[in-house]
Amino acid sequence: DVKVTQSSRYLVKRTGEKVFLECVQDMDHENMFWYRQDPGLGLRLIYFSYDVKMKEKGDIPEGYSVSREKKERFSLILESASTNQTSMYLCASSLVLNEQFFGPGTRLTVL
């Protein structure tokens, strides 16, 4: 079974802090994704990566950056966290067309 893990289930940070959310997949998938999930808004794509060191902006990249130094790891970075970035963050990975496998999510609260 594909396993996608995220470094934290719950995270509390202060406004202005630099925040790292880590995602690791164990199935040698080329493609990795970061989504943000908010009530009433569904999931929205922040960034994705189709190869090591490659990245593409999704629908809501503002305020975020990403890093993919190794194939199995995809990091989401909040350079200066703000309260409007309080949300659930979901990581996903895929190998073949279309089927994405999701991690358990990180609930981030920015105070």
Binding site: G58, L97, Q100, G105
Partner: protein, 117 residues
């Protein structure tokens, strides 16, 4: 840009009955994939069922089946013999075939399904 609309924020069904969740989408593409994902209270998103747009036959996975109407851009999910474990948020999602595997999914806002014992 593609959009996915789920018009039912919440649905409730008695255990063992059948429920249908609605989803419509908008796209100019002719080849694409449609999905239903389930997110139980534990938060792990799970793929329920997938439909390729070029296939006329509706996908079925055990108690889960879809009614795919390509011309109407409609993609509903039917859950038969509802069970307590079916209680979850259900998301409809779209993926363009032209994405080559490196595009994100476009999700609807979700439907919260409640199963009444």
């Amino acid at each position: 840009a593609q959009t996915v609309t789920q018009s039912q924020p919440e649905m409730s069904v008695q255990e063992a009955e059948t429920v249908t969740l609605s989803c419509t989408y908008d796209t100019s593409e002719s080849d694409y994939y449609l999905f239903w994902y389930k997110q139980p209270p534990s938060r792990q998103m799970i793929l329920v069922i997938r439909q390729e747009a070029y296939k006329q036959q509706n996908a079925t996975e055990n108690r889960f089946s879809v009614n795919f109407q390509k011309a109407a851009k409609s993609f509903s999910l039917k859950i038969s013999d509802s069970q307590l474990g079916d209680a979850a948020m259900y998301f409809c999602a779209y993926f363009p075939y032209s994405g080559g595997g490196a595009d994100g999914l476009t999700f609807g806002k979700g439907t919260h399904l409640i199963i009444q014992p």
